[in-house]
């Protein structure tokens, strides 16, 4: 049985980024990597994407920050984080003791902040890739979210590209009319990989208190409820650009993960499901392995993008 297991190849290559398997954990749902280490062997993961980092620490939004909905979770955390220096000096060294690819998620409110972050992280050893979160407002352009405007995307991505040789993932927001356009802009600006989706913008109110349920009034929806939306967005991106795509959104078990691989995503990230069952990601890896075995496949890459379109 074990000998047979070893035969299945789960390694995937996303341009300049090679991963031991296609299952990563998503930014903001796994802290700085070690919080779950007493529950799961994090070295088994395909990669850990850490909580989004800005140059300075951020306090985040006023509470309440969470609302549960049918099959979903709306969050308005406000990108609270320890700041890039604290991460590099205190969190990263501990994480690097485990053999697992570390992907650093970054965000800013100006193009300059993104390029500064890229500059700082470029010199740090042990980082496998940067993931650029462009789902935040540009304070210099009246608060327009970078990721909703192809020109802004180009500016951000190229400013990061100019400042780092690390593999670059651009994480797209689904809150746009044509995500393919956004993907093209990111690719033209030099991104190696696209990841999608970030949360779907959402709102919840209380009819008794007549107040919004979130301190920030609006937030972003994640969890099983967004999976079909995410799958369609990933499909759109794959039809618009040639670079590898990482699928994110509502993945809770190996079947969900395989759906994204089937349409052509080269890897996936698990977010909200970590909260419900911290072992989800490692169980998905095993689930993919068994699925491939029982379907007589020796390599996950044979399954990726094998969606049959004609009847």
């Amino acid at each position: 049985m074990t000998a047979k297991k070893a035969e299945v190849n789960l390694k995937v290559t996303l341009g300049p980024l090679s991963l031991p398997n296609p299952v990563m954990v998503a930014s903001g749902t796994f802290g700085y990597g070690l919080e779950y280490s007493s529950l799961i062997n994090i070295s088994k993961l395909g990669g850990i994407v850490v909580k989004g980092l800005s140059i300075e620490p951020r306090p985040g939004n006023p509470p309440p920050r969470l609302v549960e909905t049918h099959g979903g979770l709306i969050n308005a955390i406000g990108l609270e984080n320890v700041g890039v220096d604290n991460f590099v000096n205190q969190k990263l060294p501990l994480l690097l003791k485990h053999e697992v690819p570390v992907i650093v998620n970054i965000f800013g409110n100006t193009v300059e902040e993104y390029s500064e972050l890229a500059k700082i992280l470029d010199g740090v050893t042990g980082i496998s890739a940067l993931e650029i979160n462009i789902s935040c407002p540009n304070v210099k352009s009246g608060g327009i979210v970078f990721g909703t405007d192809p020109k802004q995307i180009q500016k951000v991505v190229s400013s990061v590209r100019e400042n780092t040789g690390l593999p670059l993932i651009t994480k797209l927001t689904p809150n746009v009319t044509d995500i393919g356009e956004m993907a093209k802009a990111a690719v033209e600006a030099g991104t190696d990989i696209i990841s999608a989706i970030n949360t779907v913008s959402a709102m919840a109110v209380d009819i008794n208190s007549r107040k919004p349920k979130l301190g920030n009034i609006v937030g972003g929806l994640s969890g099983p409820a967004i999976k079909p939306i995410a799958l369609k967005k990933v499909w759109n991106i794959l039809n618009s650009v040639e670079v590898p795509v990482i699928g994110i959104g509502g993945i809770s078990n190996h079947e969900d993960a395989l759906e994204f691989l089937l349409v052509g995503a080269r890897a996936v990230q698990i977010g909200t499901a970590n909260f419900i069952h911290p072992k989800t990601s490692v169980e998905i890896i095993e689930g993919i392995r068994s699925f491939l075995e029982s379907n007589g496949l020796k390599d996950v890459n044979e399954f990726i993008g094998s969606l049959k379109l004609d009847s």
Binding site: G28, T29, F30, G31, E35, Y36, S38, L39, K51, P59, G60, P62, P63, P64, R65, L66, V67, E68, H70, G71, G72, L73, N75, I77, E80, G223, P224, S252, T272, N274, F275, I276, H277, P278, K279
Partner: protein, 270 residues
């Protein structure tokens, strides 16, 4: 501190007051690592509805036989599902989580417990902890509920030499009014406590905080906020640092109820 995920066997699950249930679970790893005031995240069923785990404080810890109890109020889908479970069923539990109660400072003898509604839950374990200590604390419990029918196991506190002050919103039992009214009255009429512990709904805790600031009191408060992960990664359970700040202080930033709490120290650090 290690966190465990256990398939816990339900040993009993019974109604103990109007809308309130008590569950005993066999979860040796969690029970032996836990302290009073800590909590665990319960997955109420295997399906993804409700989606998130539900947090519950330990009400009593029985380390010797690897079990613990919770007291819970049925308020929505998750707790309704729990109340329908029977002995022999299993629940997936993550714990122990957060920072529990600490002992009072050395000088403290007069201790007040302030419990609002289901906020009584962690006081059973806290009383066990304080009664194991060599100091014979004088403990006064202020316990408020909407109505007399909702009061849970007051006799436990009486049997363990506590002075018990009951308050009900509708006057069906004890003092007619909020627990914080009763606390404020007693505090001005007689002596002030050396130390207090409180747990209850947010509006009550706000008033307790004001009372503690006004009277310059020290104590510990167990807080509740919405939680997604319970382990410190989602940053969703935050409470403003300002909530706990002294009279003049204005503090920015937030604390995670699931990690820095749920029990927070008020007044001078001890």
């Amino acid at each position: 501190m290690p966190i465990f995920q256990e398939k816990a066997r339900i040993l009993k699950n019974q109604r103990v007051a109007q809308g309130v249930w008590e569950m005993r679970l066999q979860a040796p790893q969690i029970a032996s690592a836990a302290y009073p005031g800590q909590f665990a995240m319960f997955r109420v069923r295997d399906e993804l509805s409700p989606l998130l785990r539900r947090p519950f404080s330990f009400s009593r810890l029985n380390t010797a036989d690897g079990t613990f109890d919770i007291l819970y109020k049925v308020v929505g889908q998750g707790t309704r599902i729990m109340s329908a479970l029977s002995a022999g069923d299993y629940l997936d539990i993550l714990g122990p989580l957060g920072r529990g109660f600490r002992l009072p400072p050395k000088h403290a003898r007069e201790i007040w417990f302030l419990a609002g509604g289901i906020g009584i839950a962690p006081f059973f374990g806290l009383l066990d902890m304080l009664r194991q200590h060599e100091i014979g604390f004088n403990i006064t419990l202020f316990y408020g509920a909407a109505t007399g029918e909702e009061l849970v196991r007051c006799e436990f506190f009486e049997q363990n030499n506590c002075t018990v002050n009951i308050c009900t919103d509708d006057g069906t039992c004890g003092f007619h009014g909020f627990i914080t009214d009763s606390v404020e009255r007693t505090c001005t009429l007689t002596s002030v406590p050396d130390y207090f512990y409180s747990c209850g709904p947010h509006p009550m805790q706000q008033r307790v905080m004001e009372w503690a600031k006004c009277n310059n009191l020290q104590g510990q408060m167990s807080m509740e906020t919405m939680m997604a992960c319970g382990v410190g990664v989602c940053l969703g359970c935050s409470i403003s640092k300002n909530f706990f700040a002294g009279e003049q202080k204005i503090e920015t930033g937030y604390l995670r109820v699931c990690r820095e709490g749920p029990v927070f120290t008020i007044g001078d650090r001890t």
